[in-house]
Symmetry: D2
């Protein structure tokens, strides 16, 4: 997904493609002062290995990117590749040392490129959810810092990334359902560092459809009895989520949308199935059993065949642009107005897509610097 | 559909069923002063024949109504049956005579029951669309009256029903895609008689889904290339719409929604197929081919298996309640605020379901007599 | 399923319905000397409770049986009900005592009605599969009898039912995927008692489709990479199979068909999901990812919406008729020729539906007593 | 399709790909003496224009062929391209002159390459069906020749191609539903020239599935009430078949399979819809409404997403190999044993796929020259 994002930004900048899938490029945001695609500089911490140009070529083979495109934007991909650093936790580094290394990398990156700000986006694999309630070291910043210094406690990579981002004064966007910036200790740090953050879990496929369609049943007073989802995933995502404990966070995040939109309990099982043959593609099948007037039982079925990286990449660019604008505007804490992009929106319980869009448009057009 | 409406109203009135599928019974309308289900008195002009209790029994056989329900509300069905008059055009009556008969029936019905108002709802079969532009006799009320008196010109039953309703001072709701109250001559009459009207073509299935889902593609900047629909219909509806000239109006009405919601041309073929075996049920299959970031081609498929009468009947009750309230409030002309219920909303080009709902809530709650 | 079988046999006998779904009533078997529907007498051991007429009424409510049918065959249902005995294991009886009680019931039933033979059919819920390899007491009849007498070892109800049937000289049909008559100890007993048996696991829905469709891919040299199945089940079946250990046997049985028909390894995950709302109905969705010429990737999807009891009941009647004829003909041991009816055919590895049908036709028409 | 066939033959010959989709390469035919892929020499009459290598590149863009493959077999494609002649009817030539030109081309091609035989395969667009009964000039060879000489009568290109093939002593395979070799005049010529022919209309997608699946309903005594098909086609095929008169032949051919397999009348509507966006790909949706025991109504839905050229090309190679072997063996007239490959098999009314396959295996293994 990170590679598709970088190739796409370069292609849009160079005018090689229309910004299809880019929400921030819609006319509704035409007067909002957002950073241009050409103003973005990419870098990252990588745990998977492989150079950016090589991965772009793999995406061509996987039919995610059009043939020939990576070659046309090769200088941009090489430049990004030079700014990729190994994931600091990869070689068994202590959490504290990893945080320090990430902070140093972020500050160095910002200084060398003379950037106004750096937005950190977590696009790594889903992590096992933290215990609920969270362990004591997550309940306050002081406790968290003590545990980190002492090397006690559990620190998933996504939490450390958020901690490092905030410490370096960088906004943080969590495109995954992992713990990230949610615990009180992290929220406290973001406040103190006066940086905004957004999340969680990019809404790109089945849940996107649910958030558009579930309001239809609610508005028409139709009673949904069971909304059952099956997700066939290939690629690394399928493998990660075949692990039940890791999948738990994803599934929980996917289920929230129905519980919030429909005003009655729904049997909303979600099943994730690893089908390596599908590669970068995903097929979701949803079966909705609902009741109409006088007890009539009806059904609706949906099959969604999408490419997750092609759906997610333009949203990553949108989130970077909106979050950067929020940071420029001095916002800190959770950006509830970006709930449109997420399965589990931080700071909001609104899941209806159209309402989320209205909120986004209103907020973005209220930011300073509106063009006339 | 008319029978299901009458059985349903009686069942809701008697507390035998929850008003599932009834929009006007949602909490958002809890304080709006609408006529109660028990305040409604039913009558009608019928072209199909068969008593109301007998047809209710057929709906039980067709699995539209639950077994045993018609017996529980039999007195209401018998009472309604006594108010059913033969369609005045049935025996080859002249249009003018038919109008006069309908006006007399409406006035007599209103007087005998001491009703505040009568709302006329057209739930008959789809008629062949009028030529476009309409014939000269449709361009002004005077010309229309002259032609009617002279017995020249073409007068579909739905047009005469609207004319009679307005003449008798009754609001008119068109649940079909037929011409109805749309031509200038009728609009002029409605204005003169100071009655409101609403239409056209109840949005109950495939188009309902489109109006909820197409905004998702627009909001996410995904480019829909082809949205192809296949409708398998049984019952009389399938037979009527197997006739290409009659289907034309229906299909045109179904296509409008995409053209309005998406800001680019879409290949939006709709095919209607008569499958008598399906009886009262309908299956629609939609195939959506769309483009995401960097040219990625994706698809979505939808299968909708619904019972049209169970979906339409509660909306008929909603429309009667809202239209009666509008009439009581002195509204006349097209009720654009009821666009939520229609495939081809008179007086409005807004097709996005959520926006239509917001409009409806705002308007209804602004009606006089709001309960606290 | 048992109730639907008894109602159906009575309805076919009385000429109230055509034998739709009854394989043995096809013209291909028109000259085979099979017991008539009117020659069958029903009885059973029941663990669920509830009288036969009452359950028939529940099936009407669940839309499995047509309204009014149970009343028309009530005498048959009452007669059957009088021959239902409580499951002998229900009240915590020792396995040995339960076997003795079942044998006595079977012999008494046969004697009282003056029957030529009694065919025992297991239509109870799926049991947890036996360990593999089976425990030592299952390896020989002697060891089994010793363990039964001593009250040591594990004896699922289905195993005891097979043991009792064989002991009473009755053929046994296993419509479930449970252990039943498969272990060596039972096979030895069937041989010694000279009775035939057939199984396992009636092929009624998703697996039926697989056994008809998988040969298409094989014959056309198309390479199936992944055939993924999702089963939404309501009713008691869904609940039982939501239990992973019980589902294991069912899933294993469902998967066998692809492994045998396709000559290469296939990713063939099957997922079972309990959706109580579906009641007696079942929806299966299969997604098949396959490869054609020059690496082209294609897919096929299937949605099957069926009523398991309506699909299974006529097959139970077929199995009783064919197994009775085999017994009359002196056959003993596993009836591999009945593989057509089963997901996991005892005595055969042939899963291709058309081949199984050819085998059945050839065998049945070779039975003595063919009519001219 | 022709281009995919030539690229595929070259790739299989060179060992660059496994012969996935090639029926004649299955183990069941391992001992049959068929021409090797490397023994085939390609030429053709083309009406569409564009060189073979260029079209191969277009198929890569359309994701039918893997990237890089055409380059690897370029010499073969260039060699084939040199043997492509313009369609002789293209420039308004008289039918008689066109036939003469084709005969000369075929004889020249065979002589220059020193070939044992040339198999002519019609893979052009579907033509408007001939009137039924056919015009008088089609009823005998003499009448046909007279009309051809006189330049009177209607002569579709496919008929002339068959006439030219037979005249030149070449077997003819009709992969289209067009008239081709079916009329008596052509059959008489084939007999006189002692050449075999096969057809009609390659069975590659929806109809293939029907021929595998319809027997399942028949064997299980399930009553199919309605089997409705919708075909979304892109590319040239979609455009051609959007023309109702041309589509008529295709649809008629598609419908035959159900009428023959099921022993009762079926509502079997087929709808073809042109969706240019789909390019070389095709999506078919089939809805099957069927009845089980005691009137239970059930449904099955199928979605097939395939690439027609990738499905058809290997069958063209199979047909060439089998037809060549039949010719070598002295067979003439219609090759009913090749019905496995066709929607509308010449010389046979058997449509059940498994039966057709058994016939093919038996016949092919009975050909002379079987390897041990």
């Amino acid at each position: 997904m990170a590679t598709a994002t970088m190739v796409g930004a370069a292609a849009v900048k160079a005018g090689l493609t229309r910004p299809v899938g880019c929400v921030s490029a819609l006319p509704d945001f035409g007067r909002v002062d957002l950073p241009g695609y050409g103003d973005l500089v990419f870098g990252g911490h990588d745990i998977a290995g492989g150079s950016v140009p090589k991965r772009a070529e793999q995406l061509v083979q996987a039919r995610v990117l059009p043939q020939g495109l990576p070659e046309l934007v090769e200088p941009d991909l090489v430049a990004a590749d030079e700014e990729i650093r190994p994931g600091p936790l990869r070689d068994g580094a202590a959490p504290r040392a990893a945080v320090d290394a990430m902070v140093a990398d972020l500050e160095d990156f910002r200084a060398r490129h003379g950037l106004d700000r750096v937005v950190v986006v977590n696009v790594s694999s889903t992590e096992t959810p933290l215990a609920d309630p969270p362990p004591p070291e997550y309940l306050s910043l002081a406790a968290f810092r003590d545990a980190l210094a002492a090397g006690t406690g559990t620190f998933p990579a996504g939490v450390l990334a958020a901690f490092a981002a905030f410490t370096a004064g960088c906004p943080f966007v969590d495109f995954t359902p992992s713990t990230g910036a949610r615990p009180p200790a992290l929220a406290e740090l973001a406040d103190r560092c006066r940086v905004p953050y957004a999340g969680s879990d990019g809404k790109t496929g089945e849940t996107l459809v649910k958030s558009a369609l579930a309001p239809m049943f609610a508005r028409r007073a139709l009673r949904v009895h069971a909304w059952t989802g099956t997700n066939l995933l290939g690629g690394g995502d399928g493998e990660t989520l075949a692990d039940a404990t890791r999948a738990a966070g994803k599934i929980e995040s996917k289920r929230r949308v129905l519980a919030e939109i429909l005003d009655h309990p729904v049997d909303d099982g979600v099943h994730i199935h690893n089908v390596p043959e599908l590669g970068e593609w995903k097929t979701a099948w949803d079966h909705i059993a609902f009741e109409g007037f006088l007890g009539a039982r009806m059904t609706m079925q949906i099959t969604w065949q999408g490419c997750d990286s092609a759906l997610a990449a333009p949203l990553v660019l949108d989130l970077v642009r909106f979050t950067a604008a929020a940071h420029r505007d001095g916002r800190h804490g959770p950006l509830a107005e970006l709930g449109f992009f997420f399965k589990d929106p931080l700071g909001s319980r609104e899941h209806r897509l159209e309402r989320q869009y209205e909120t986004l448009v209103r907020w973005a057009n209220g930011l300073p610097g509106r063009r006339s």
